[in-house]
Amino acid sequence: MNGQTTCVEAVRHYLDKISASSHLNAWLEVYEVEALETAALLDKQRHSGSPLGRLHGVIVGIKDVICHKDHKVSAASRVLENFTSVYSATATDRLLADEAIIIGRQNCDEFAMGSSNENSAYGPVRNAIDEERVPGGSSGGSAVAVQAGMCMVSLGSDTGGSVRQPADFCGIVGMKPSYGSISRYGLIAYASSFDQIGILAKNVDDVKLVLDVIAGADEFDSTVKQKPSHIPALKKSYRFCYFQNALEHSSLDPTISEEIKGFIKKLTGEGHTVEPVAFDLLDYIVPTYYVLTTAEASSNLSRYDGVKYGYRNSNKENNLNELYQQTRSEGFGPEVKRRILLGTFVLSAGYFDAYFTKAQKVRRLLVDKTLKIFEEYDAIILPTVPTPAYKIGEKKDPVEIFLADIYTVYANLVGIPAISLPLFKNDKGLPFGLQLMSSQNNELHLLSLSKLLINLRFSGK
């Protein structure tokens, strides 16, 4: 990003930062030698006058759910402890093709299930702003890496907020594009109709640059959009809305509520329209999310059986079923097991209609409602998270943790792009963001609106 520094110097700088911050536990593996070698090669190519890749020399970290050929990937789980991927994710290939340098793989919640990075088999990640606090999750490592200057940009994954929420807790930008924007080939699956690779960075321009490189049609993923994103038409003023009950919700920290309301006033002061809309379905989105994601996850995680790869219980006396049970029970952490059980429950005969089909119907209602909203408005504003970062070990109840996802799961349920913008800090110095969402296939619009909001916030007006 800096024209003067060589790639090698840049890599050295970040490697030093990584060492100095190792207690934050953001990284599971750092590719020191490889990163320096790649950097040297890029420097040589640049000197010889070769045209530069769009991400030439950009130092990237990837969450431990994104595959990288001949490198270990473990989904922060014991079940994949010594697993080496034999192929690269499409996103990884595209980063490398445009000359990014992958400096390491980042800690996260196991199988991307969690909101605090306390569910990793390799220890929690700490928030650099206050090391007793969680960075958020599941892409906690990816967020802290950017926050603490250990890499320029991270790729994370977002199924219910796992890029936006840690971005919020860490005071950086975190974006989840539309469902179908970035290929999921090579992204270790949690919930297939919700997962998207997301981007964490210090600013919106960096997010856009990476998005341009990694998004787009891919022969390996059938669910990727075949058409490119709409090019936004620039307007003088925009129409924003927010969910009426969202800003009054009982779980929302009053500071956050106040700041956002204050910012809304600023927006209207600039000539934009900001209106509340009724959203009766607000309290149903988290249950819907958990029914559908755990169902898909219970199936996606069946492949971890100790037969083809990964951890296997070594007891030679085991019969086949015992092998499966021991392997999976020892390999998976408690949160993963809980979600597998819940998912198995909602799919099982006798409960399928009452829970799974019901949730699919609610999802339909949400999608329809969303389409109506975007007929009248350019974007939706919401908080990202009800509270700022809490202390490590503070939250234990699974349902309490689920409920904190209330503002972020919506975008995954309906497939729209969403971004968390680091606009605010509370009196303890803890950051919290504003969440902005646009209609499907409109991420470019979302990014330009994001810049507008950031400029407004920090313009000193």
């Binding site: 010594n82 697993f83 080496t84 034999v86 469902y179 179908g180 109709s193 022969e219 669910t223 990727v224 959009k225 075949q226 379905l281 309290d283 149903y284 988290v286 249950p287 819907t288 958990y290 029914v291 219970s298 069946s302 100790g306 037969v307 083809k308 790869y309 990964g310 951890y311 296997r312 019969n319 086949l320 015992e322 092998l323 049970q325 999976r328 029970s329 097991k337 809980r338 597998i340 059980l341 819940l342 198995t344 429950f345 909602v346 099982s348 009452a354 829970y355 019901k358 949730a359 699919q360 609610v362 999802r363 339909r364 209602l365 999608v367 109840d397 699974p398 349902v399 689920f402 497939g415």
Partner: protein, 96 residues
């Protein structure tokens, strides 16, 4: 609905998970909490609503019938916990 031991056992069997006796109560409690939580959906009237089956708008996404993308046996067996030079190995599945 009530979560009993039988349900936990059934689900564990389907999911090929096993819980130690000391873990069982905890898992039962957690599952009860989670199921009670999702039961909130019953409050909604969804009569006549079509379930949403697919998130993507795409249809008929197909590929040509071409042989490509294979890996070698070595690569395939590389990560296998138990194998020989040809096969993945598992405990004998008892057959008559």
């Amino acid at each position: 609905m009530q979560v009993n031991d039988e349900l936990v056992d059934q689900l564990s069997t389907l999911a090929r998970l096993t819980f130690k006796p000391e873990e069982k109560e905890g898992i039962k409690t957690d599952l009860q909490k989670m199921i009670s939580f999702i039961e909130k959906l019953n409050e909604l009237d969804t009569t006549g609503v079509e379930p949403l089956l697919f998130m993507s708008d795409e249809v008929n996404v197909l590929r040509e019938d071409e042989v490509k993308g294979s890996i070698t046996r070595e690569e395939g067996l590389l990560n296998a916990p138990l194998r020989d030079d040809k096969f993945f190995k598992v405990p004998k599945v008892i057959r008559k």
